[in-house]
Amino acid sequence: MKVVLKNIGKKYEGREEFTLKNINLEIEEQEFCVILGPSGCGKTTMLRMIAGLNSITEGDLLFNDKRMNKVAPKDRDIAMVFQSYALYPHMTVYENMAFSLTMRKERKSLIDERVQEAAKVLQMEENLYVKPSDISGGQRQRVALGRAMVRNPKVFLMDEPLSNLDAKLREHMRVELIRLHKQLGTTTIYVTHDQTEAMTMASKIVLMDDGIIQQVGKPDDLYMRPKNLFVAAFIGSPSMNIIKGKIEQGRFISDNRLMMITPTKTHKEGLEAFEGKSVSAGIRPERFESGGEYGDTFNVNVDVVEMLGKEKILYGKLDDGKELIISTPGHYKYQGGERYAFGYDLEAIHYFDQETGERIN
C-alpha cells in the first residue's frame, strides 16, 4: 500500500509550537522506509500519527489515495511493533498473537492457521504456549513481530523495535527483518535513531531533525550527497569532518589558513558564486589520502589511534587545535604522538553554504 503524507502538521495539547509542520512524504508500495533522526525530532510522533494513535492537526494522510485522518487505528489495516514489545503479560504467546484476530471475531480455525504460519516463519513453534515472561528478549521481539504478522496488514509500523536487544542479537534481527520484508513484501515504516540500522535496512531513508524532513533518499544518496550540513554531520560513523573557511580565488581556504583545497572542475562551477563568501567543506574520514592531485596537503598531529582491525581511526589536531578524524586501512602503520601529512580525495569533498547550511556542489 502506498502511504502519502501531505502537508502534515502536529501540535500537542498545551504546547505553544507545532511538533511537526509541513511534512510531505511519499512511501511507495513494498518500500522499507526508515525514519531516522536524533531523539525529540518528531519521528515517533509521525509514526503514531500514521498509526492513528495521535491525531493529525493539519494536512492529509492518504493510504492508496484514501484519506485516513479520522479512521480508527484498528480499521487502518496496519500493525505496529513497539519498542518495549508491549506483549500482554497475562496471555500466552499464542494468545498474544491471536488477540487481534479474536477481537475481530474471526473463525477459530483461521486464527489457528495464521498463528501457526507466523510461528513457523519466526521459528517460535515450540514456545507458543508459554508466557512472555518465560522467554528471552529476542524471542519476545519475534512474538511482537508475529503479533503484527498474523493480521496480514498492509503496512508494518515499527518503533525502534531493536533498541532493547543486545548488540549481537540486534545484528541478527536486522537481517531477519530484511528477510521477512522480502518474503512478505509489506510496506514497512521503521523508526530508529540508529544510523547503522537505517543504512543497512532501508530502501528509503527519511532523515528528520527539529520537526522537519532534512533529506529523503536511498542510503547511498544520504551518504554520498548529503543535502545540508545536518545530514552530513549526522550520517556516517565516525562522522564527517566539517571545516569552516572561505573561497578565495577559486580555492577553498580554511579559517585557520592551515588547509587549502583546490576544487575539481565540476565543483568549481558551483563554487564560483561563492567567491569571497563563507563556505564549509566536509570530508569523510576515509577520504583523506597521502598526496593528492594538486598537492594540497596539510599536517596533523595524531593523538590517539584506534585499531579496529580492518581500519585504523586516527584522532588528530591541526596546529591551531582544530580536531580531525581520519580513517585509514588497518594495515597502515600510524602511531599516536606523531605528525603526518595528508591530502584529500578531491572528488569526495562536499561544499556547504555556511549561511543556509545547504549543499553547493
Binding site: E13, R48, A51, G52, L53, P73, K74, I78, A79, M80, F82, Q83, S84, Y85, A86, L87, Y88, P89, H90, F99, S100, M103, R104, K131, P132, S133, S136, G137, R140, R147, N164
Partner: protein
C-alpha cells in the same frame, strides 16, 4: 572460626559444642555464603537485643490471642473472663453464641456490608484509577489533590451529615436502610484512598500496552477489561481485600448508625456481649471473635499465592 585442629584457641561455641552435642554446628567446615560482612561482637549483641525486642513484641501480641482461644473453648469460664489454670474443653460458648444471641444475623449483616463495599469499591476504583492514570482532563490534578486533602478529615466528623443524608434518601427510597448508608460510607472512603493506589499501579504499566490493544481493535473499556485489569489484578485484589475487611474491623460507625441489634454488624453485635451486664458473656465474645477471624484468615491464605505471583509477572521488558 575455622575448625579446631588449626591449633588456635577454641572459641566459646566450639567448647560448648564439645560439652553439649546440641550446640555443635552441623557442618564445621561450612563455607561462609552470606554477602554481608561477618558480625562483630558489637553486631552480635545488637542482633541479640533486636531479637529480644521482637520476641517480646510477639509475646505481647500473641498472648492475648492465645488467652482468647483458650477461653473460647474453656467450659469452666462463665460470665466474666477469669484467668485461671482450670481448663475443660467444651463448645458451650459457641452454642450460646448461636442459640442465645443474634450472631448469625450479625454474620449475615457483616458479610452483606463487606461484600457490597468490596464490590462497589472495586468497580469505582477501577474507573477512577484508570481514568486518572490514562486520561488528561481539566481539573485532573486539583481533583486528585482534593481527594488527598479530604482524606485527612476523619470519617466520624461527618456523622451528622450522614444522619441527614440517610433521612433524606430514605424518605425518597423507603428501602434505603441504615446498612446501605454504611456501605456508602465505607466504599466512599475506600474509593478515595484506593484511587491513588491504583492510579500509581496503572501508571507503572507501559502505555504501549494500551496502544497495542488499540491497534488490535479494543475500545477504551475493552483495553481496561482485557489488558489493564488482568495486569493490575494483584493490586485490585489487595484493594478488594482491604475494603472487605474494613467493615469487620470497624466498630464506631455501625454502633452509632445502626439502631436495632438485629441489624448490627459483628463488631457492634459482639460488643453487646461485653459492655452490658444483662447480656454479659465474655467467653462467648472470645468465641465470636475467633470465628470472625477464620474467614478473613482463609481469604488471605487462599489469595496469597495470587498476590505474590501477580506482582512478579507484571514485567513487559526483558
Amino acid at each position: 572460626m575455622n575448625n579446631s585442629n588449626n591449633g588456635h584457641k577454641k572459641t566459646f561455641l566450639e567448647r560448648m559444642g564439645e560439652k553439649f552435642p546440641f550446640f555443635q554446628r552441623k557442618n564445621k567446615n561450612k563455607l561462609y555464603l552470606s554477602d554481608r560482612q561477618p558480625l562483630t561482637l558489637q553486631g552480635k549483641i545488637g542482633l541479640g537485643i533486636a531479637h529480644l525486642v521482637l520476641i517480646l513484641w510477639a509475646v505481647i501480641i500473641i498472648w492475648p490471642l492465645y488467652q482468647m482461644v483458650v477461653s473460647a473453648f474453656n467450659g469452666l469460664q462463665d460470665g466474666y473472663l477469669v484467668l485461671n489454670r482450670n481448663f475443660e474443653f467444651s463448645l458451650k460458648h459457641f452454642e450460646y453464641l448461636f442459640n442465645e444471641t443474634l450472631y448469625l444475623a450479625w454474620v449475615r449483616n457483616t458479610l452483606f456490608i463487606s461484600i457490597s463495599t468490596a464490590l462497589l469499591t472495586l468497580l469505582f476504583v477501577s474507573f477512577t484509577g484508570y481514568a486518572y492514570s490514562r486520561y488528561r482532563f481539566k481539573g485532573r490534578k486539583s481533583s486528585l489533590m482534593a481527594i488527598l486533602l479530604i482524606q485527612t478529615i476523619p470519617v466520624f466528623a461527618g456523622i451528622t451529615a450522614f444522619f441527614t443524608m440517610h433521612s433524606i434518601l430514605s424518605s425518597i427510597f423507603p428501602y434505603f436502610s441504615r446498612q446501605m448508608m454504611l456501605i456508602l460510607i465505607y466504599s466512599g472512603g475506600a474509593i478515595a484512598a484506593n484511587t491513588f493506589i491504583l492510579k500509581g499501579y496503572i501508571d507503572s504499566i507501559s502505555t504501549e500496552l494500551d496502544d497495542a490493544a488499540k491497534i488490535d481493535g479494543c475500545s477504551n473499556m475493552q483495553i481496561y477489561r482485557l489488558i489493564i485489569m488482568p495486569v493490575a489484578k494483584p493490586m485490585l485484589m489487595i484493594i478488594g481485600l482491604w475494603s472487605f475487611i474494613g467493615p469487620f474491623m470497624d466498630f464506631l460507625m455501625p454502633r452509632v448508625l445502626l439502631t436495632s441489634p438485629r441489624s448490627y454488624t459483628l463488631a457492634a453485635g459482639l460488643f453487646t456481649l461485653v459492655n452490658d451486664f444483662r447480656t454479659m458473656n465474655q467467653p462467648a465474645f472470645a468465641a465470636g471473635g475467633l470465628l470472625t477471624a477464620i474467614p478473613i484468615v482463609l481469604l488471605f491464605v487462599s489469595l496469597q499465592g495470587q498476590l505474590v505471583s501477580g506482582l512478579s509477572k507484571g514485567s513487559v521488558k526483558g
